[in-house]
Amino acid sequence: MPIKSFMYPAVRVDVVTLDPDQVVTHSRAVLDDVIGTIYVQGTILPADDRTWPAIVNHVWRPRLSWDTWKTAEGPAETTIKAGPEGCQSVCLSRTRGQGRNVQHIALDGSAPIPAGWGVVVAYGTAIIGGQQGEQGNYFAPRDEDREVTGSGDLLLVR
């Protein structure tokens, strides 16, 4: 399945969909730019004997917790394997060397979006100001507070 990589000026959004039992290897260079990841469908497993923290779908995993399985030196790369039903994750990475603050909203109905925050749709559908967004779309920040409606996983970025 293809990986979709949306390169917004503020943040890079990678939507990674793996087939059942598909194995992929991520290099350390790629991982170094990762802000965090949210798994939205299926299951994922370690493909080696490294200790692997339990991954729960629809929970934002910032880079800090992503680091917990690493060795002290950090691996050159890591290999993961999708479960029998495949899996899908959405990964945010920094651009231009800039880190970002990220807040997760599990949207079910409506929620406020404070001024100054952009919104990545990680899963589901969101409507802000009469504009619908779907997975991978990014609502740019505004100077005023807004309201979002819909359902799914949103990642607020500032």
Binding site: M1, P2, I3, K4, S5, Y8, G133, Y138, A140
Partner: protein, 34 residues
Amino acid sequence: MDEEEVKPPPQQEPDKVIETPDGPVEVFRFPKEL
């Protein structure tokens, strides 16, 4: 009261597709911000 008209999400094509050992990567270099 009139229902608010909702604009659908933009339809976008990737700027390029890179073949990798893990499969194709569709790259959207300047995707439309909403």
